[in-house]
Each structure stands twice: as structure tokens, then as C-alpha cells.
């Protein structure tokens, strides 16, 4: 379980997370929605330890991410997929995927690369296994990014707007992979602006507004009168649908 409780985070004078509580259990797909600047990315970055929180507590399977010793354990349990892919440009797709298993989990290189090829096959990239990121399209890069996270066999996937740098065609190729992962019971925290997609794969929707979680509801309820009863949510949804 990922447990976020009473988390506060400021950058200088700006409070970005203002007391956030959120729990993600195994098997859930939680979409985090909210307008630009509401703190979604910051929340993800606090969970994977890229940002230090000012107050509160975040644990991943009980490991406290603010304690350096426990952070490394927490990080073994969660895999992050980035908006801009963040691939290592000097490594091929296979090498990108195998790096962390080899270095962190001490998997023999041969085995790690075989597993990497298998993952690439599952996302339809068998032929591009030896390609460098610069030789891949955006959608292909993001599929490599997803494989790289999956290679660590994480209990949780953290995804921050993983399709927003992609054109519609590439977006759908990445989303179909995520939908397949959701179906197999992969636990995901999914920050997105793809409302309809979030609705189709999520078990729950968390809505951030100015650093506060103003809604945390099962998907069906969020998109029903219950969600719409919250003015900020109604406003957000109508605006997103117009775009």
C-alpha cells in the first residue's frame, strides 16, 4: 500500500501540497486529476522521493520515503514513467530497460536483457530492441519507458502525464498498453488530462485543487452527481470536455 498522510510541500513561499491524504492499495488504479499547477506532479515526485516533503508522511509498503535507508526499499517497489520519457540516450532500448535490474536488483545481465526483450515484445517493439532513443518515435520511446519501469517488477506504477508529449495516434498506442496493464491488475497512480481514459481504466479518482485533495471517490461516483456536486470538479470537467 502507498500511504500519503498529511503531506505538505512548499517551494519557497508557494504551498504546493497543503495536507494531502491518499491511500493506494494493491490492485487499484487511481487517477489523479486537477488543473494545471494543482500539485499533481509534485505529489508523484514526493512519492518517489524526488522531492522532500515538509510535513506529513509517505510510506510505500511501510517504507518511509523520507528516511534514506527506507527510500531505496520504497523505490524498489514503485516504478515511475515520466512525461518526457527520460530515457538514457546513450543506451539502446534493451540497455535502458536492463540497467536498473542489473545494477539495483543484481540480475545477471544476460537474463535482464532477455527479460527486457520479452517486455519489448509485449508492447510490440521487438524489432526496435537495439535502437537508441533518438531512433524511436515519441510513442515508441514512451513504450520503452513503460517497459523500463515494469522491468523492476514494481508493486506500483507511478505515471505522470505519460501521453501529454505525444500526438493523438501515439497517445492511443500508449494508452492501450496501460489499459492492458490495468486489466492484469497492475496497481497504478495515474496523473492525466485524458479524462475519458481515466474514467475507463480507474477504480478511483482523486481530485487535487490548489494542493488539497478535494475529492477521492470511486470512478462511477466521481463522474455522477456526487462529483458534480463539487463546484471545482464540475468546472474542471466541463472545461476539459470543451477542449
Amino acid at each position: 500500500m502507498i500511504s500519503v498522510s498529511g503531506v505538505r510541500k512548499s517551494f519557497g513561499a508557494a504551498t504546493v501540497l497543503n495536507g494531502v491524504d491518499l491511500e493506494i492499495r494493491q490492485g487499484e488504479v487511481v487517477s489523479v486529476l486537477g488543473s494545471s499547477g494543482s500539485g499533481k506532479s509534485t505529489l508523484i515526485r514526493c512519492i518517489n522521493g524526488l522531492e522532500k516533503i515538509d510535513a506529513g508522511k509517505i510510506t510505500v509498503d511501510g517504507f518511509d520515503v523520507s528516511k534514506p535507508r527506507e527510500l531505496s526499499e520504497a523505490r524498489k517497489r514503485s516504478g515511475t514513467v515520466f512525461q518526457l520519457f527520460n530515457l538514457y540516450p546513450h543506451m539502446t532500448a534493451v540497455q535502458n530497460i536492463a540497467l536498473a535490474p542489473v545494477e539495483v536488483l543484481k540480475v545477471p545481465r544476460r537474463q535482464a536483457e532477455d527479460e527486457a526483450r520479452e517486455l519489448l515484445r509485449s508492447v510490440g517493439l521487438s524489432e526496435r530492441a537495439e535502437a537508441y532513443p533518438s531512433q524511436l518515435s515519441g510513442g515508441q520511446r514512451q513504450r520503452v519507458g513503460i517497459c523500463r519501469a515494469l522491468a523492476m517488477k514494481p508493486s506500483y506504477l507511478l505515471l505522470d502525464e505519460v501521453t501529454s508529449a505525444l500526438d493523438p495516434e501515439m497517445t492511443s498506442e500508449v494508452l492501450s498498453i496501460l489499459a492492458a496493464l490495468a486489466k492484469t491488475g497492475t496497481t497504478m497512480v495515474f496523473v492525466t488530462h485524458e479524462i475519458e481514459f481515466a474514467r475507463s481504466i480507474s477504480t478511483r479518482i482523486a481530485f487535487l485543487d490548489k494542493g488539497q485533495l478535494i475529492a477521492d471517490l470511486p470512478t462511477a461516483e466521481f463522474f455522477s452527481d456526487k462529483g458534480m456536486a463539487l463546484p471545482r470538479v464540475a468546472q474542471f470537467l466541463s472545461k476539459m470536455r470543451k477542449d
Binding site: N48, G49, L50, S72, R75, K76, S78, G79, T80, F82, L84, N86, L87, Y88, P89, H90, M91, L99, A100, E103, V104, Y132, S134, Q135, R148, A149, M152
Partner: protein, 223 residues
């Protein structure tokens, strides 16, 4: 020996001088690479105190003439510490230090050239700082650094000629001797210059070849 005569042996003399210059160049480059890289790693880890010392020393070495440094090592150290410093030792110490300082500067900017986003990716997947340095930063930093490094080394090769003033028998010193003996400066210095030129070209060529290999992954950029 009479004035004015070149002998076949002069070729050997020139080649010996070239050998000395090359030996000094290669050894001080290697020492400079090791030290400069270690300094850059110290800075990467932000080791307190040491980082400041390294930055300060590199600044001193970069901003004072090599010749002055050479005199300080050759004449200053023996006078101050009452130790014996041979011309070769002084040459090795001075040129290594000087190369180290400039290599440090190149290494620091090469490390900083690596995109922060990949480093964040490596961190969240649990790689240690050392693993990130070795697997993610070093290969890309090397590809970045090889161009400036080649330029630096071509220059450092020429700088080795300064050591002739303290009596090291390098190529320039040999040229000096031949010049005094034959009084044919044009021929002597043309020959010496040509040897430096060819060696410099060789260094540049090797650097270029190496760069191509290190940058294999960027050859496709733009597709």
C-alpha cells in the same frame, strides 16, 4: 664538430627529442586525466572542504603562466623545501598539474551537460550516485568532453616545449642545440615545427576517431 654541418646523426637527435617530448606529453596527459577526473568527481559528490580546495587550486593553475609554474617548481621548491628537483621531475609535475586543471574544467562541464531528467530517472529506479556516475553520466560526459579534450591536448603538446628552458632534452631543446651548432635557424626550426605539427595532427586525428566511436548513439539524431 665544425659549424654549419648537418650530420645523419642529427635525425636521431631530433627523433630522440621528439621521443622525450612525446613521453612527457603522454605521461603528463595520463596523470592530468586521472587527477582532473578525480577532482571533478570530488566536485560531483560535493565533498565539503575538498571541493573548495580543488576549485581554488584549479583556478590558480589555470590563471598563471605555465612558465612561471615551471620556475616555481624547479627553482622555488628546492629553495623552499631544501629538496632536489630534476628538470624532468619539474617538467612532469608542472605539466601534469596544468593539464589536470584544464581537464578538470572540461570534466565538470561534461558532467553538467548530462540532462537532469535522465538522472532523476536513474535515481527513482534506485541507482546509487556512484552507479549513476558510471553508467549514465560517464559515457555521455566522455562523448561530450572528447572534442574539447582533443583541442586541449593539441595545445598541451605545444606547451611541453616550454620545459626546454630548464634543460630537459625535448624536441625544442634539440632544435636549440642544432641551431647553435649549424647556425641554420630556418632549416632547423622548420624541421622542428614540422615534427610538432605532424604530432599535433596525429593527436587531433586520434581524438576525432575516438569521438566518432563515443558518439555512435547520436549519429542518428534527427531521424
Amino acid at each position: 664538430m665544425r659549424y654549419g654541418d648537418f650530420t645523419p646523426f642529427d635525425i636521431v637527435l631530433l627523433l630522440q627529442g621528439l621521443g622525450v617530448s612525446l613521453a612527457l606529453f603522454v605521461s603528463t596527459t595520463l596523470i592530468g586525466l586521472v587527477i582532473g577526473t578525480i577532482w571533478a568527481v570530488i566536485r560531483f559528490y560535493r565533498v565539503p572542504v575538498l571541493t573548495q580546495i580543488v576549485t581554488f587550486v584549479a583556478e590558480l593553475l589555470k590563471n598563471s603562466p605555465v612558465l612561471v609554474q615551471l620556475f616555481l617548481v624547479f627553482f622555488g621548491l628546492p629553495a623552499f623545501f631544501k629538496i632536489n628537483v630534476t628538470p624532468t621531475e619539474a617538467a612532469v609535475i608542472t605539466l601534469s598539474g596544468n593539464s589536470a586543471a584544464f581537464i578538470y574544467v572540461i570534466a565538470v562541464s561534461a558532467i553538467e551537460s548530462v540532462g537532469k531528467d535522465q538522472l532523476e530517472a536513474a535515481r527513482v529506479f534506485g541507482l546509487t550516485r556512484w552507479q549513476i556516475l558510471r553508467r549514465v553520466i560517464a559515457p555521455q560526459a566522455a562523448a561530450f568532453a572528447i572534442g574539447p579534450l582533443t583541442g586541449l591536448l593539441v595545445n598541451q603538446l605545444q606547451v611541453t616545449s616550454l620545459i626546454s628552458v630548464i634543460g630537459v632534452m625535448d624536441l625544442t631543446k634539440v632544435g636549440n642545440i642544432l641551431n647553435l651548432r649549424t647556425l641554420k635557424p630556418f632549416i632547423v626550426w622548420t624541421a622542428v615545427g614540422a615534427l610538432y605539427y605532424l604530432t599535433a595532427k596525429l593527436v587531433a586525428y586520434a581524438g576525432g576517431r575516438f569521438e566518432k566511436r563515443l558518439r555512435a548513439h547520436t549519429a542518428w539524431r534527427g531521424l
